[in-house]
Symmetry: C2
DNA sequence: TTTTATTGATTGAACGTTCAATAAAAAAAT
DNA sequence: ATTTTTTTATTGAACGTTCAATCAATAAAA
């Protein structure tokens, strides 16, 4: 049923199918035939639209990171020049946004995370994202405390966010986003306890 | 050069070779030939001693978790019935013990972590370890605060430890164990700030 | 001579990629 | 309106590669 303008549709279908396949059987067993099956198309189409399996995997990781960046940016945009606490809170909330914590996305992200250790292209994407989280946090903490302390706070909070996320991905019941969000906010409150008088949830 | 009693020697060599291979090229490209090459033996020997590649991978993960458990237990044994803070500090230090933060071990652990999402045998091992960390932390916090608060504290600290560890594994320069240890202790100090008067480093 | 340890060529299964063939829609021609 | 032509999208069998596992052959120690 070929129509014109299928490219953006198929690309999106295949990226979603990739996450579904990884969620189902893991990255190692996510073959092109299985991925194509999830999208209801044949295996050959993957090479046609993405140049090969690697291209599809890279596009999938890029999509996940873009969605995360958008979720954070959207929450911060409405804040203007609010307090550092509000901005950091928005970064936390963005990281536990719905689009990031659904089962397929969570498992896919963790799979890419591990894979990025040995695939330069994925490693690049992963590091860009990592540094964005860290430097966003750091520049906000910097408004409240000296540089060394701000760096420590940013490292600790970034690690806690990633850790909550990681543990959630491994839990059979999936990540409890609300509980994780609360733990991260508690940690933030403690970090700011010395620099502000009225913590907010 | 066959001698008697080679089994324990070969098993240990092959487990170390597995970590070296995963550190070198990742779990996906750690073939039996490459692993055997690292140990200076032929590929067939893997099936002979471990029943197959899967058996070797499981034994490798089990070894890593056992080493971690030992590192924590050794530090706690000398504590007797010291303060909860001391015990939790020992758990933190054990998790950032030298044997856990060397490059090969760190990367291997993260690789297994991702893989355990879809391999029941690895998942079992991983969950046993996870719950051990959580319940050890929880029972110590429980001596200082009500159950609900203790659970929160344990979840937050466990996530921070895993997160620091995860971020360290991905960093090209490897995990800075001393820096990570300090961050975790800072977090612990904050968690205990309301329940004790004299924090120690 | 017997036992134990090890090899490595072989086997069969599974994978990603390719590409000639096909089918449907769109455009052009009648 | 129909028919024909062109364009676009898609298929899936075939191919070459790679892998883990096997096992008869071998070699060293006991």
């Amino acid at each position: 049923m070929p129509k014109v303008g299928m490219e953006p549709i198929r690309r999106q279908q295949l990226i979603q199918a990739t996450m579904a396949a990884i969620d189902e059987v893991g990255l190692a067993d996510a073959t092109v035939i299985r991925i194509a099956g999830h999208a209801g198309v044949s295996a050959g189409i993957i090479s046609h639209y993405f140049g090969g399996k690697d291209g599809l995997l890279e596009a999938t990781m890029r999509q996940i990171l873009t969605d995360l960046g958008d979720a954070v940016a959207a929450r911060r945009r409405s804040l203007g020049d609010a307090s550092p606490r509000a901005h950091i809170g928005a970064i936390i909330d963005g990281n536990f946004d719905r689009s990031q914590v659904s089962g397929p996305v969570a498992k896919t992200w963790l799979a890419f995370w591990a894979s990025s250790m040995h695939k330069p292209q994925l490693q690049r994407l992963q590091q860009v994202n990592d540094r964005r989280l860290y430097s966003n946090l750091c520049s906000q903490f910097r408004r409240l405390m000296p540089r060394a302390k701000a760096r420590h706070a940013a490292q600790g909070l970034a690690a806690t966010i990633d850790g909550l996320w990681l543990r959630g991905a491994l839990t059979p019941e999936g990540l409890d986003a609300e509980s994780a969000r609360r733990l991260a906010h508690d940690y933030l409150n403690q970090l700011l306890a010395n620099h502000e008088s009225t913590p907010v949830s």
